[in-house]
Amino acid sequence: MNCIKCNMPLENVYVCPHCGHVDKVAKKIIYSSNWHYNQGLAKAKVRDLSGAVTSLSQSLKYNKRNTDARNLLGLIYYQMGEIVAALSEWVISVHFQERNNIAADYIQAIQNNPAKLKAANKVIQKYNLALSYMQENNADLAIIELKRVVNMSPTYIRAYQLLGLLYMQRKQYAAARKVLMRAVKVDRNNMTTLRYLKEVNRLHGKPEKNQHGRKEEFMQINDPNPIVIEEGSGQNYADYNTGFLSFINILIGIVIGAAVIWLLIVPSITKTKASEYNQAVVEYSAQISERNKNIDDLQNQITDLKSQLAQYETTASNTVDDAGASEQKLIEAASNYLQQNLQDAGMLIAEIEPAAITNAQEKKIYNIIKEATKSSVTETLYANGKDSFDKKDYVGAIDGMTKVLRMDDSYSYAVFYMGRSYQLLGDTGNAAGYYKRLIQSYPNSDLIDDARKYLNQLGDTSSIDAVDISSSDTSDTTDSSDNSSDSSDNSSDSGDNSNDSSDNSGDNTGDGLSDNGDGSGE
C-alpha cells in the first residue's frame, strides 16, 4: 500500500515516513491486525491454541507483515505439533523482516538440532502411516502407530483427535475420553476435540470423579490396548507398551526366573551334590576300614613274626647252650673214661642229651663211652630214679629214668616208672605212651599187667601212640658197621640186664604193688 499523497510505500505503518501523512485506512487495518494479535496472544496464554490460531490468522489477514502475529502463530503451530506449518510461518516472517526478527532464532534453533528435527519428521511420517492404515481399513495398526506418535510428540493435537475418533469408532469410549481429555489439556477450546468429547459423553456418559473431587492420577482402561494417562505428572503420555515398561517387564521376568531357579533347581543340585558327597564318604569310609583291617592284620603278622623270632632266638640260644653244655660234659666224660673212672664217665654220659650232639666224632666218642659205662651206671641211675619215685619226687624220677633209658633203652622198669611218674604228675598222654611202649615192646615183662591196669585207668587212649624211646638215640647209621660188634656185646649185656631185671622183679613188683596202693590212694 502506498501513501496517497506521495505514493511512497507504507509497509506495516500508517504514517508516511516520507511526507508524514497519516493514512486512516492503513491505520484501521493495522489496528485491526493488532487487535486480533492481542486476542490471539490472550488465547494462547490460556492454552486456547485453536482460538489463538484463528485470531492470529485473522490478524495476518489484515496485515501480513505483522511479524509478532506470524511468529506467535508459528510458535502455536509448533506447540500443536505442526512443525512444517511453524517453519513456514517463521520463514515468511523472516522474509518480511530480516532484521531483529526472533523467528530467525527459532529457525536457527531447529536447524542446529538435527536429531530433534529428525524426530519431528519421524512423528509426521508415523502420523501419515496411521492415516494410510486407516485408508486400508486397518484400524488396529493405525491405533498402534498413533499411540507411538502421541508418545513421541505429546502435544500433537491431530494425532490425539484421530486416536480418539478411532477409539470411538471401536466403541472404546473410556479410552477415547482419556485421549481427548489429553488433547484438551494441550488445546482447551479446540472445536474438533470438544465436539468429539461431547459425542463420547453422549454415548458413554460423563466420567465419575473420586471423593476428593480430583481425577485419579493413574487410571487403568479395560480394553485390548490399555492406556495409562498421567494426569498430574506433566507432559508425557504413558502407555503399557512403552519401552520403559517393557524393560521393567523384562526385569521382572528375569527376577522371577532367577527366583524359580533358586527355589527349584538349586535345591535339586544341592541335594544331588549332598548325595554324591555322602556316597563318596561311604566309599572312602569302607576303603579306610579295609585299610585299617589290613593294617591290623599286618600288625598281627608282625607281632607273630616277632614272637616267632624271639622264640627261635631263645631256642637257638638254648640249643647252643645245650650243645655247649653237652660238649663240656662229653669232654669231662671222656677225661674220666681215659682215667678209667667209668662210674663218673657213665654218669656224665647219662646226663647228655643225645640230640644235642651233632658232630659225628663227638657222637662216636659218646657211643664208645656209653657202651663202655652202660653196665656200670645203669643200675645206679635206676636206683636213683626209683629213690626219687619213692620220695614222690616224680620230676626227679622222670629225670632219673630218662637217664636210665638213655643208657639202656630196653630197661622195662624204667619205662614203667616213666609212665607212673607222668601219670602221677597228671600228664596222661606221656603216661599212656610209656605204658603202651611197655606193653608193645616188653610183652613178657612182669609189669605188663600193671601197665595195662594203669593204662585202663587213664581212659580212652586210643589216639595216643607208644613212646619211641629209640628215636632219641644217637646211633649213627654211618657207624652201624663199626657198632655191629658193640651190638653183639649189647645183646649179651641185655641178656645180663634181663637177668638183672628178673633179679629185680621180685623187689620191684613188691614196690610196684605198694606204689599202686599209694598211687590209687593218691
Partner: protein, 52 residues
C-alpha cells in the same frame, strides 16, 4: 451425532520437513491491504475507461 467416515476424511496427511518449501509457496499471503490495492487498481481502471 458424528459420522465417523466423514470425520476420518477430514484428517489429511501432514507435510514432512522436506515439503516445507512447497508449503511456503502455497501459503496465501494476501491481506486486506493487498485486497484494497487491487480494488483501487480496479477503480482506477474503471474511472480511466469512463474518461475515455
Amino acid at each position: 451425532m458424528i459420522n465417523f467416515e466423514e470425520e476420518l476424511k477430514k484428517f489429511k496427511p501432514s507435510l514432512e520437513i522436506d515439503q516445507a518449501e512447497e508449503a511456503i509457496y502455497k501459503n496465501d499471503l494476501r491481506d486486506v491491504t493487498d485486497i484494497l490495492e487491487d480494488m483501487m487498481k480496479e477503480v482506477k481502471i474503471a474511472s480511466g475507461n469512463k474518461r475515455f
